[in-house]
Structures are given as structure tokens and as C-alpha cells.
């Protein structure tokens, strides 16, 4: 639309200055509401019960009780849960991204009659509620002796995250120019070399986006672990925290510290990767 004169609308804005001030205040209040419970969690994770019940509920503790964190870290299996969450999240995410990359390449760049059908199969899977697969998965894993085995949750994570991962990757793969592939083939490259050394390295941003989205989902997943894993040594943080807190029903400081430990990696990731997270969550939903 080049012909349109680009007029500044600053002077003729349909909302007055007073109106805009009100809007800013409303937006600011919403931000406070969104953050406030987490701030409150942080304050009571650093207080003793006595401080929590006697001091002002919103005050930041002057002498923070870091002992709460030491106590829950050493008393229970929080360290084990944390490490389990970490390695299971990383392994499942890596496998999902690799498997999805190959599938997306075959669907978007290669010529075969059933590619539409395969893509449809992947997309329909996105609408299936986890709960409708839970009982058969339980009996299948039981049959394969994978109940109480990390493999059961890892492959479930991969399967349920594949559709969204492929969906986000699709758009990027469609934009890769044909010429790149043609040039590589002219140089006598095999398709595997083309995919592994030329195409995949180009997909860094979309891999990062899908990777971070996968990590968040896997880190927070609850129902598979709760159903398939029974021994404490194999539980992840979500289920572990849930059981652990059960023993501390009255010790608010310990509960707060446990929760803070479980959400801290996500909050840290958010500080550094917020753009990728925003992009991933938006891309995954809009096209759905």
C-alpha cells in the first residue's frame, strides 16, 4: 500500500490522554496480579511458620531463612526428583526434535503421494486427550515390563509432543529455497548428507523454539509420571513435589521452598529465552 499518505495519528488519537492513563493503570494492575502469587510464594519460602503467621503477609523477610531450602533439599528426595526431571526432559526433548525434523523434512521437501495423509495423521493426534490413552498405555507398558521404568514416560512425551513440534517446524521448512537442495545434489551430495549437513544446520531457530516449548511441557508433565512411575528414585519433580508436600502440610516454609525449587529452572529459562518461548507458544496455537 505505497500510495497511502502515512499520516501521524498522534494528534488525532481516538483515545484521550486521561483515557490512556487509565488503560496504563489497568495493564499495570494485571501485571501485578500475574506476578503477585509468585512473589508471595518467594516470601513465605524464606520465613518460619511463626514469621508467616505473625508478620505482615506481604513483607519480605529481613532475615531470610535459607535453611528452608537446605532442609527440603537434604531431607527428602528433591535432589533425585530434580535430576530425574532434568535428564528425562532433555532426552525426551532431543529425541522429539530429531524425530520431528526428519518427519517434517520428508513431508515438506520430498515427493510422495501419502504425505498429506501422514501429515493429517500427525495433526489429528493433537486433538486426542491424553486421558483417553491412559488405560491402554498402562496395560501395554505393564505387558512390556515398562511400568516404573523411565522409558514409559519418555516415549509418551515424545509421541504427544511430536504433533505440535512438527506443526511449528512446517512453516519454516516450507520457506527453504529449492535451490539449496539442487546445488547440493549437483555437487553429488547424498540425501542424508544434504539433510544432516545443510538443511538441519539451517533450522537452528525453529529447533530452539520447539526445543524450549518441549522442555516446558516435559518439565511440567504430571499425569504420565503419576500413573506409570511408582518408585521414589524414578519420580520427577511434579509428582515428587506433590508427594513430598504431603508430609509437610503445616510447614509453610518447607512447602514454599520445595515449590520454588521446582519452578526456578523455568523462571530462569524465561529470563534468558522469553522471546523464543513467546514465539513457540504463539506459533503452536495459531496455526492449530
Amino acid at each position: 500500500m505505497q500510495g497511502l499518505p502515512l499520516r501521524s495519528t498522534a494528534g488525532s488519537s481516538p483515545i484521550g490522554a486521561a483515557g490512556r492513563a487509565v488503560l496504563y493503570i489497568v495493564l499495570f494492575i494485571i501485571a501485578v496480579v500475574q506476578l503477585f502469587p509468585i512473589y508471595w510464594l518467594l516470601t513465605f519460602s524464606l520465613k518460619s511458620n511463626q514469621q508467616i503467621f505473625s508478620s505482615h503477609p506481604l513483607s519480605f523477610p529481613l532475615q531470610p531463612k535459607w535453611e528452608n531450602y537446605e532442609k527440603v533439599w537434604s531431607a527428602g528426595n528433591i535432589g533425585t526428583y530434580f535430576l530425574n526431571s532434568l535428564w528425562i526432559t532433555v532426552v525426551a526433548t532431543l529425541l522429539t526434535v530429531v524425530i520431528a525434523s526428519f518427519a517434517t523434512y520428508a513431508i515438506t521437501r520430498m515427493n510422495w503421494k501419502l504425505s498429506k495423509l501422514a501429515l493429517g495423521m500427525i495433526m489429528v493426534a493433537m486433538m486426542i486427550p491424553v486421558h483417553s490413552t491412559l488405560i491402554p498405555l498402562y496395560s501395554m507398558f505393564n505387558f512390556a515390563h515398562l511400568i516404573d521404568h523411565p522409558l514409559s514416560i519418555i516415549i509418551s512425551y515424545i509421541a504427544f509432543n511430536l504433533p505440535i513440534t512438527v506443526l511449528i517446524m512446517l512453516g519454516f521448512y516450507y520457506t527453504i529455497p529449492r535451490e539449496i537442495e539442487e546445488a547440493a545434489v549437483m555437487d553429488g551430495s547424498s540425501i542424508h548428507r544434504l539433510v544432516l549437513t545443510i538443511i538441519f544446520p539451517m533450522t537452528g531457530t525453529v529447533v530452539a523454539t520447539t526445543g524450549i516449548v518441549n522442555m516446558i511441557y516435559n518439565w511440567n508433565e504430571f499425569i504420565f509420571v503419576n500413573t506409570f512411575i511408582s518408585s521414589n528414585e524414578l519420580k520427577t519433580l511434579t509428582v515428587g513435589v506433590q508427594n513430598f508436600i504431603g508430609q509437610y502440610t503445616t510447614d509453610w516454609g518447607a512447602i514454599g521452598a520445595t515449590l520454588m525449587i521446582s519452578i526456578l529452572p523455568i523462571l530462569i529459562a524465561f529470563i534468558f529465552l522469553s522471546d523464543r518461548i513467546v514465539e513457540g507458544l504463539a506459533a503452536g496455537s495459531i496455526k492449530g
Binding site: P14, Q34, I38, N111, M121, I122, S132, I255
Partner: protein
Amino acid sequence: MNKMMSNKWIIALYMLPALLLLALIIYIPIVLTGYYGLNDWNGIKAMTFVGLENYKELIGDKAFWSSALHSLLLALFSCLSLILYLAVSLVLASKIKGANTLRKIYLIPMLLSSVAIAQLWLKIYHPSNGLINIFLEKLGVVNTPEWLANTDIVLFAIFLPILWQYAGFYILIYYAALKGVPKEVEEAATIDGATAWQIAYRIKVPLITEVLKVTLVLAMVGSLKYFDLIYVMTGGGPNGASEVMASYMYRIAFKSFDFGYASAVSFFLLLICLVVTWLIRALTASKEQIQY
């Protein structure tokens, strides 16, 4: 080149891991769920085929229908809350300084696990030391409610953290869509003397109808599947007042070990999710694509 790009063996090799996993973990289990639902089975002993017996039981099962009603109410609340999210997004997308930072802040609760959110809100709702009741006491309210123990209000109490958790997610989607509306459209309307309300309601919202539909499906189907938060906060109680379909199915399957009946419930849940998705798409199908 063309020959290489249509090599069946390579295509099979690249597709196989993905399709195999989907078949094994999603598609075969769905078929099995349908089949188990026709059987009487406790997960250990041999199955006995009972035909539609479980579904007959389902139709007369008051506890199930009460859980379905709760799921439906939560879905309704979620859809209504979309209006609120849309309103905030309209404001946010109207030349607000710091809009990008604000929408990121709004998103933070969405990144936390439902278990952590549930545990945190258990504390917020705590009858004597929770944030809400302390606040109400400061305001002079004498009989502060026991939010999660009162059958009349527990469902609303459950919904508040959901509203809080998902706000940033939907605002993010709407904001991105509204930013995609060409500036010229808004400028032309402003020059023609349209008010901010008219621009929002008559121009911007109609232009993002497709996105609105997608979020409607997401909110509906998402609420029909709510589980983690409720399982941790109330376990469906008190007295079934916050039971939803997924938590009801889970209780029957993994507490009572009635796998046959639970499969019938979960197959029903699957059907409802698919029907709702299809219904929203069909009802809101636009005859003509909006051009701008």
C-alpha cells in the same frame, strides 16, 4: 534430484520413527480404549465381553453426569474469559509503550506446572492464613469462606487459578493477531472519525475471526480435559463438587481399578472432545474469507 526426493526407502526411513510412535502411543491405545469399554475388566483378571453394558451404566451414572456438568461449566467460564483476554489484548495492541514486556509478564503463570500452581493456590485459599482471607479480614469480613471446602463455591475457586494461569497465553495469541491487522486500516478509520470502541469492535475483532475460532476450540477442549490442577487442589471434592470428567475417569481406573468402565468414560471423553471441535468449526465456518 527428483528421483532422490521421491525415494520410497528414504521417505520411509525418515517418517517411520514418528508414525510408529504415534501409532503405538496414541492411535492403538484409542482403539483399545474403545474395545476395553465393551468389557468388564479389572486390569488383572481376564476380560469378559459385556457389549454396551458399561455405556448403559454410564447413562444412569449420576456421579458421571455431575462431573460432565462441572467440565461443561468450566468450559463455559473459559470461553467467557476469552472476552476478557480479548479486551486486554485490544488495549495492549493500541500503541501501548512496554506492551511487549507486559505480555511477557502476563505469560509467566502459564509456564509453571499445574502441580505448582495448585499447591500455591491451596495456600492462597488457606482458610486462616491464605492471601485472600487475610485480605477479606482486613476489609472487615467476619465469616471468611472456606473456599475449597464449600461445595457451592469450590468450582469458582478452582476456576480462578485457571483464569490466572491461561491469561498470558490467550493474550499472547490475540496480541499477535491484532498486530497483524494492517496499520492503514486503523488509520483510515481514525481519519473517518471512528471512535476507539468502533475501531476495536467493528474493524479489528472481525478481522481476527479465524484466530478467535481457534482459541474457542482451545478453550473448550482444554477445559474438558482439565485434570492436574483439580486432582491436586481438591481431588474432585468435597463430596464430588469439583469432580470433572478426567478426574472421575482417573479415580475409577486407578483407585477402583474398574478398567472396563473407566475406558467407557474415557472413550466418551474422547468423543466429546472431537465432537466439540468439529461443532465449533462447523458452526463458525465463514462463507467468505475476509479480505483486507
